[in-house]
């Protein structure tokens, strides 16, 4: 971490693959997978004379995200050629946007440790993805299915100060992308990619230090770790009198270090110029307004509403609103059960733990919202105890089904019959005569031991309040 009066300056470039059916500038399918080079029309192959055409939905998704990032939307922007040679880019240039991007000057609000922070968004522009190359020693193989898939590149201001802020910014952008349905935000599969620009300078210094670009980061945890490593590397370089080279470094997660990818001598000169094959991207403000009208409630707005409408703590509200499907699931359960806080607890603790362990999404699991709501009502009505509810929940997770049925078939109904509870209490007290004597001579802590034993003999069915009451009475005697 920055120490000895050093501070880090961090900016992120996020590339988001847009979920269109066809590519940005051609009719080829934009879907993931596909047989080798199956989605390669002459446009994707960069054949001479093949002309690009602009995908309306690609532009619409760009505008949608730009609006959600609070950007100004240019109703007139320009596609430019970014020239460089690499075999995964058969035209010899990438169609991108340079000095007139479609979205500019926005911001994203993030929450870190309960504190809000605003990160500026310099710009977001449309471009096309490159193909995929795999390397095999003395040759490389090229698959151009991905060449031309629409990307929105979102460039942050260098407002980010710590690795944690960087990761949280990236998470927040991903949540927004997913809420809007414009990108699935999968870092591992590369449908969302984070490049991090990192530099360090003496605290209070106005000038930026030399920046290094980090690539090849495929999880939010690695965003944090890579930046952390890089900050420390730069500080120790500078402290030992070396200079930082402006370069691109790759992050190796297995070794948790970054290493140099390109030397300065090979620095790129992209020679951007407006693509003469494409007309300027011009549309009416009316279209932007129409898109704005269809924007869903975004994660932070939803979190605020959950706090006021359901009285949830800020932490719960932020966790529950990260994924749109989870937020909708919560609202359904909260409304049906009439107990928002219990709904939040069951989803955040039990359900999310199971989801995480099984690597499933909320849509892929078996517990329906109305079933979880019923479970909460069974507890609230005293039909089952909280402990039994966990058993029922486990069964619901494994098999699905209504909790009332599970309680009935498994004989899990809570026992509130005083006589039955007294019988269990007596049973435990006579089996643990020593402990009873110790308790009566002042060892209060043993109370919990008795409760545990009683719950055990009742197979968790005894009503805990009643157990406490009866046990206290009987131990006094």
């Amino acid at each position: 971490m920055p120490s000895n009066n050093w501070e880090a300056v961090i900016g992120l470039e996020i590339h988001a693959q847009l979920l269109t059916e066809s590519k940005m500038f051609s009719v080829d399918s934009a879907s993931f997978g596909g047989a080798d080079n199956e989605y390669t029309s002459p446009v994707s192959l960069g054949m001479p004379g093949a002309l690009p055409t602009i995908n309306r939905r690609g532009v619409e998704f760009g505008i949608r995200m730009g609006l959600a990032l609070n950007c100004n939307i240019r109703t007139r922007s320009v596609f430019s050629r970014k020239n460089y040679f690499y075999p995964d880019l058969p035209k010899g240039y990438q169609i991108s946007q340079f000095d007139e991007p479609i979205c500019e000057k926005g911001y994203v609000d993030i929450y870190l440790d309960g504190k809000p922070k605003r990160i500026g968004v310099t710009r977001a522009h449309l471009e096309e993805d490159a193909g995929k190359s795999t390397h095999h020693g003395d040759y490389s193989l090229i698959n151009l299915n991905r060449a031309g898939v629409p990307l929105l590149e979102i460039v942050s201001e260098p407002d980010i100060k710590t690795p944690q802020e960087a990761a949280e910014y990236a998470r927040t952008v991903r949540n927004i992308l997913r809420y809007l349905g414009v990108c699935d935000g999968n870092l591992e599969e590369g449908s969302m990619r984070c490049d991090c620009n990192v530099s360090v300078r003496k605290t209070g210094e106005k000038k930026f230090g030399t920046k290094v670009e980090l690539k090849n980061i495929n999880s939010f945890r690695f965003v944090e770790k890579a930046i952390d490593y890089e900050i420390n590397r730069q500080i120790s370089c500078l402290e030992s009198g070396e200079r930082i080279l402006q370069e691109t470094r790759l992050y190796d997660s297995t070794k948790n270090r970054t290493y140099s990818m390109r030397s300065k001598e090979e620095a790129h000169d992209y020679r951007y110029f407006p693509d003469p094959d494409l007309l300027p991207l011009v549309f009416e403000q009316k279209w932007v307004d129409e898109i704005r009208a269809t924007l869903p409630e975004l994660p932070l707005e939803k979190a605020k509403r959950f706090q006021t409408q359901y009285g949830l703590p800020e932490y719960d509200a932020l966790v529950l609103t990260q994924e749109r499907a989870v937020a909708e699931y919560f609202e359904n359960v909260a409304k049906l059960s009439g107990n928002a806080k219990a709904s939040s607890n069951w989803i955040m603790v039990e359900l999310m733990r199971e989801l995480k362990e099984s690597e499933k999404s909320i849509e892929e699991q078996k517990i329906r919202g109305e079933d979880l709501a019923e479970l909460i009502q069974l507890i609230d009505k005293g039909t089952i105890s909280g402990k039994i509810a966990k058993t029922v929940f486990a069964e619901m997770w494994a098999q699905g089904g209504r909790p009332a049925d599970i309680v009935k078939t498994k004989g899990l109904v809570q026992v509130t019959d005083r006589a039955a509870i007294e019988k269990w209490v007596d049973e435990v007290m006579s089996a643990s005569a020593n402990q009873v004597n110790e308790y009566r001579s002042g060892k209060d802590k043993l109370f919990g031991f008795f409760v545990g034993q009683i719950m055990k003999v009742s197979r968790g069915q005894a009503n805990p309040d009643l157990v406490n009451q009866v046990l206290k009475e009987k131990l006094k005697k």
Binding site: S22, S29, N37, T53, R56, H135, L141
Partner: protein, 90 residues
């Protein structure tokens, strides 16, 4: 002055020293010409991106299989299955 070697490298061209000399003179005169154009006052002139007045027509987002991978591979000098095989680039 123009750095012919750097321009040639960016275009992946190998030039003989005679060619370098010839192109240096030619490219320099082109660059010189543009610096003369640059002297024109364009303070209130919109940049011209395209000389036509045609307005943009969008393509609707519909996928279409234009050709098979087999057809796409037809011009490949070298291939491995339906992948293009190229000199190593790492």
């Amino acid at each position: 002055m123009i750095n012919v070697q750097s321009v040639a490298h960016l275009a992946r061209l190998t030039l003989s020293s005679d060619e370098e000399k010839a192109f240096e003179a030619q490219l320099s005169s082109i660059v010189q010409h543009f610096s003369e154009v640059e002297a024109v006052n364009t303070a209130n002139v919109e940049p011209l991106i395209t000389p036509t007045d045609i307005t943009l027509v969008f393509r609707e987002d519909k996928k279409l299989a234009v050709q098979t991978a087999e057809e796409a591979m037809k011009n490949a000098p070298e291939r491995s299955g339906n992948l293009f095989k190229v000199p190593p680039v790492v």
